[in-house]
């Protein structure tokens, strides 16, 4: 579904991503793991068109999307859950979810999808009228995920969903990510928590200083001695 070839990202003269290639198949969850500063978030930002790529191509179902304006991606079926949650703090939960459906006009479908998000995250339903900024970090992450689902994406980009959250919250978020994946969503997961990411995904890529150094089935990567030594703290 998503085919990335030779993607490069540079900040000034510094290359953050040095020509990486990877792909995500339809209905698959792929993890992109690596240490801080390996270039994971830069990769995702370039995919979401929040920054310009310095080179390479990004194809979605064969169509080049690396030059599209960021707001056009939603129409192409891509939804991003930004790093650090990125909810609208002074809007209620309900308004946040409605913003997620900004590009849609099918009122009944939107209402049905809001109900669907509420079944995934019952916590959000309890607080539907509360301002997003007054919720805990975990709840905001739930909301950001729910809001991304509101655009009915075909490909979900998750940027560090576990960042800064209590372990119990991380478990909850990942449970929902698994549920969403089981419903057939294609997911690209960028995550520092390598163990969790590999346990959740089918395939994985390991990034190191802007390059992909390892790739394969997540289970194999989990068993790989190099990965275990570098990322799983063994």
């Amino acid at each position: 579904m998503l085919e990335v070839t030779g993607l490069r990202v540079a900040y000034g003269g510094i290359q953050a991503v040095r020509g990486i290639s990877f792909h995500v198949n339809e209905g698959e969850m792929v993890a992109l793991i690596g240490a801080n500063g390996a270039g994971k978030t830069s990769t995702l930002k370039a995919l979401a068109r929040l920054i310009d790529a310095a080179g390479g191509s990004v194809r979605l179902r064969g169509e080049e999307i690396s030059k599209l304006a960021p707001h056009r991606l939603v129409g192409q079926g891509i939804a991003l859950v930004p790093e650090g949650r990125g909810v609208f703090p002074r809007m209620s939960i309900l308004e946040n979810l409605q913003m997620g459906a900004y590009c849609r006009s099918d009122r009944d479908g939107i209402d049905a999808d809001i109900e669907h998000v509420f079944t995934l995250f019952p916590r959000l339903k309890e607080r539907a009228r509360q301002l997003a900024g007054t919720m805990s970090g975990g709840e905001q992450q739930m909301l950001a995920l729910g809001r991304a689902l509101m655009s009915r994406p075909q490909l979900l980009l998750l940027d560090e969903p576990s960042m800064g959250l209590a372990p119990i919250m991380v478990q909850k978020i990942f449970e929902v990510i698994r549920t969403v994946a089981a419903e057939g969503m294609t997911i690209l997961l960028v995550e520092q928590n390598a163990r969790l990411a590999l346990e959740t995904s089918q395939r994985g890529y390991v990034m190191e200083s802007g390059e992909i150094t390892l790739s394969g089935e997540s289970a194999e990567l989990l068993a790989d001695p190099k990965v275990r030594a570098a990322y799983l703290g063994e």
């Binding site: 929040l50 707001h71 308004e95 007054t134």
Partner: protein
Amino acid sequence: MGLAELRRDRRAAIAATLAIGIVLAVAPFVIGATAGSTWLRIVDFALLYIMLALGLNIVVGFAGLLDMGYIAFYGVGAYLYALLASPQFGLHWPLWAILPAGAALAGLFGVILGAPTLRLRGDYLAIVTLGFGEIIRIFLNNLNAPVNITNGPQGISGIDPIRIGGVSLAKPIEVLGFTLPSLHAYYYLFLALALAIVFVSIRLENSRIGRAWVAIREDEIAAKACGINTRNVKLLAFAMGATFGGVAGGLFAGFQAFVSPESFSLMESVMVLCMVVLGGMGNIPGVILGGVLLTLLPELFRHGAGPVQQALFGKVVLDPEALRMLLFGLALIAVMLYRPAGLWPSTRRRRELRGNSA
């Protein structure tokens, strides 16, 4: 809410609207009769400032873009009126042609000034817009050479008064044997346009674009991720806000019959911004309140401080002008300390500062 309650609510709303309508309709006669024409003139100005504050509210309050050069659009509107309806070029266009032209030109300037600042936020945006505002004022000040367009620092005088259907508002108008003084006529014209701007603001606030503005104010990246074309939506905020400023500027020029660059100084931008912030950013009634208070209170001091001191101490101890700025500063500090969201904040801001659910 039950049906009976709803009906009662509606009846209350109609009653309130009627009451406000009557107060607004008779206000110029009451003020004119009790406080005199000086105060009626100040009320007319208050209406102009309300239009300005509502325009800036779209940029600052709704879209969260801190614009410190807003008065430039007021200047653009005013100078366009002055150039198209004065002996300066011998042109005497009618109001119905100038006002839309002024609105459109100011809107265009909004886009021109907005476009280079799209990547900026907060303090940086404030500094750049401040610079733009000053550039326009300095242009107006210096466009008397090599070709004299704006008449430089002397300004343009002898501007045509506003005419509606051939009737000049500068002279008392006879309607069915009843005389409507000039200031009263201007009051009704300004009131009508201010109400139109209030109406447009309310419609914008509750529109798809209004929600996009709020989303950008709250989190620009998230707004992009929701599929909002942040560039166009921000430019639209600049353009809409500037349009309101352009309309108010045109009215100002016709009302004053004189414009000069010093009416569009940075201090004026700051004043309009204070109206928005003090009243309650993003909340239309709050912004109107801010506009009224910040026009009337300084005038009260200007006219009241001298006589009061004379009565109390037998002489004027503090220069009323200095006292006015002192009290204005104190009032600003007090409001920011005790009502940080403004005197009449939007429910959104109020809820945020209380930090609980509605």
